[in-house]
């Protein structure tokens, strides 16, 4: 990040009296108030129409009524008239019913995948931030590469490798680890979890790298000079200083994982590994279950609000620090 911002980025001009003219006042006069709101208007209107209104619409559909005549769901726009029966039946389904299993499974998969992501991602981010040296540019380029390879292509790569006659089974049989090919793609939870790790670990490494890169090396040297072992330096200095990166990285990695439905469709294609995302995708696109789908979307969003809010808050804090 550039650290050369000379002008107070908050845009607060400090009024200085030059020959009796307040510079601040003069600035205000020549920057008409309407210019900036006018520039912001089209984009803001766009976001209101295509982001805020659709989200309100989902609530209107969840609180709406099934129209039996046309086999569709009619939204109700007045929040005072919303029916809560669909939402509460969906909630019952989550607590002790058909949605319970997929919800629990989603949490298990996401937590397992996140843990593996940290085991892989932290050492990598640490190495590139501390010891990247001359190769840092190359390493960063390679770390960024997965972002620009389509997620679906990366999954396609693994589906090919994990086929019965794919390279993975070939290698395992060659080394006599397994006698006959393993059906990796046949509804196995660990294949799905590893798929999630493969898909999302780059999202974790970048914020971790940014946080570790900001740590002042002199602090680590001071700790070493005071006779602290490398391990305790790591636990007592590096780890606490990278806390913000850890939490922000966990949030930005977990958010898409919670909404994932394609990874497990491609890598297992079995209802045994269905996640919340699969339930939402099926319910929303089926016209007779849209009320249920909309309610599931609301439940998921409410569950994730904490993560979303934390991420926005922490990136805001980080931006302020950099400035």
């Amino acid at each position: 990040m550039p650290d050369t911002a000379v002008v107070d980025p908050a845009g607060v001009d400090v009024g200085v009296d030059v020959a009796g003219i307040n510079v601040n006042e003069r600035d205000e006069a020549r920057r008409p108030r309407w210019l900036w709101p006018t520039l912001a208007a089209p984009g803001t209107v766009w976001m209101v129409i295509f982001f805020a209104v659709p989200f309100y619409g989902v609530m209107a559909i969840a609180g709406g009524r099934d129209n039996l005549l046309f086999a569709r769901r009619d939204p109700i726009w007045n929040p005072l008239q919303w029916h809560t029966d669909t939402l509460s039946s969906v909630w019952q389904g989550i607590v002790n019913g058909e949605f319970g299993q997929p919800f629990l499974r989603t949490f298990e998969y996401v937590i397992a995948a996140l843990a593996i992501c940290f085991v892989i991602g932290y050492p990598v981010a640490y190495y590139v931030a501390r010891y990247g040296g001359k190769r840092r540019g190359l390493l960063l380029g390679l770390l960024l590469a997965p972002f620009w390879i389509s997620y679906l292509m990366r999954m396609l790569a693994w589906v090919n490798l994990l086929q019965d006659d794919g390279y993975v089974n070939d290698a395992l049989r060659h080394l006599h680890i397994v006698g006959h090919p393993v059906d990796w793609l046949d509804g196995r939870p660990y294949t799905v979890v590893l798929g999630l790790v493969y898909g999302y670990v780059p999202f974790l490494i970048l914020p971790l790298y940014a946080a570790l890169d900001r740590i002042d090396v002199r602090l680590l040297e001071a700790s070493r000079d005071l006779g602290v072992s490398p391990w305790r330096t790591f636990v007592h200095v590096t780890l606490p200083l990278s806390r913000q990166g850890i939490l922000a990285g966990a949030a930005i990695t977990a958010l898409p994982m919670f909404g994932d439905y394609y990874t497990n469709t491609l890598l297992s294609a079995s209802p045994r590994t269905n996640m919340i995302g699969n339930q939402i995708q099926q319910a929303v696109t089926e016209s007779s279950t849209r009320g249920i789908g909309a309610s599931l979307v609301i439940v998921l969003t409410v569950l994730l609000t904490v993560l979303m809010a934390y991420y926005l808050y922490s990136s805001n804090q980080a931006a302020k620090e950099v400035r």
């Binding site: 990040m1 912001a40 209104v53 659709p54 990598v124 090919n160 394609y262 294609a269 929303v284």
Partner: protein
């Protein structure tokens, strides 16, 4: 230091805080191999002579144009998916450019009521899971706002909504490093606010705008969830959807070939995003816009 016993020297080696981090280096390179080699193998199979996507049968261009029915060049569904993806990404870029740059300028400079809610609204798509956005827009277009039908125009609206924040974040990052000095100088010399904007700020923002658009292009071309939710039929099938729909069924290496061609488009966009601003801004230093993008997560 004279340490004769091998065990002690091993311990000393372990405790030496200045020893080379071989272990970390090994993990890092192993990770990078694991992350990238599968994709290289998928590219390799796009050149397979036979129909298998998992057993190598020799090199050929069959799946690119050799096969008269099933190759990317000859199979209408494959190149239609490619054209759909390119159209979607290109149009998204064209609409996001003016909308996003204006929004970035407005949100950065505007002090007053409404600035904070507008800013929050702009940031929300960054943290909203795609499935939530996809479902919301799907229900919006199917039950509320029926004048846009599902299909390419709905997909376009979805991609613009999803990608607008990227342009704003990258452009705003550059705007904050430029500061207000140049603009003030221009106005001291008699330029009107609009003139200062057009002749001073916009040219300075050029590299960042260009880079953000390349990032938008690469994101939109690869996006799956929103495009899938808002698609109508085979006519609005994009490349990621094509991969998704055929992968576990009847896919041939032609799908690998299609994915490889799209990867070339994406990588071209990203390389342009990295190097063009660097050429334009030679000598003035500053971080590249892709680095700004990488720091989105800060």
């Amino acid at each position: 230091m004279t340490q004769t016993a091998p065990r002690r020297s091993l311990l000393a080696w372990w405790r030496n805080p200045w020893r080379k981090p071989h272990f970390l280096a090994a993990i890092t390179w192993a990770y990078l191999l694991w992350a990238l080699v599968p994709v290289l193998i998928a590219i390799q199979f796009s050149f397979n002579k036979g129909k298998s996507r998992s057993t190598w049968q020799g090199f050929s261009w069959r799946w690119y144009w050799g096969d008269p029915n099933l190759s990317v060049w000859h199979d209408a569904t494959l190149h239609r998916a490619m054209l759909n993806s390119l159209w979607l990404a290109g149009m998204t870029m064209l609409v996001c450019a003016p909308l996003g740059v204006a929004l970035a300028l407005g949100l950065t400079r505007w002090r007053g009521y409404g600035q904070r809610p507008a800013n929050l609204l702009m940031l929300l798509p960054l943290v909203t899971p795609e499935i939530v956005m996809g479902s919301c827009l799907f229900l919006f277009f199917t039950t509320m706002f029926r004048s846009i039908h599902l299909g390419r125009w709905a997909q376009l609206v979805g991609q613009i909504t999803y990608n607008l924040s990227t342009v704003v974040i990258v452009v705003r990052g550059r705007l904050l490093t430029i500061g207000r000095d140049y603009e003030d100088a221009a106005q001291d010399l008699g330029a009107s606010p609009a003139q200062a904007l057009r002749t001073v700020i916009l040219p300075l923002l050029g590299p960042a705008i260009f880079a953000s658009l390349m990032v938008v292009f690469a994101t939109a071309i690869d996006d799956f969830v929103i495009s899938q939710f808002l698609s109508a039929d085979a006519g609005s099938e994009t490349v990621p959807m094509k991969i998704y729909n055929t992968l576990r069924a009847t896919a041939t290496p032609a799908v690998n070939a299609l994915a490889t061609v799209m990867l070339l488009f994406t990588l071209t966009a990203i390389l342009l995003a990295v190097f063009v601003p660097r050429l334009l801004r030679r000598g003035t230093g500053g971080s590249s816009a892709v680095a700004d993008f990488a720091n989105l997560d800060v």
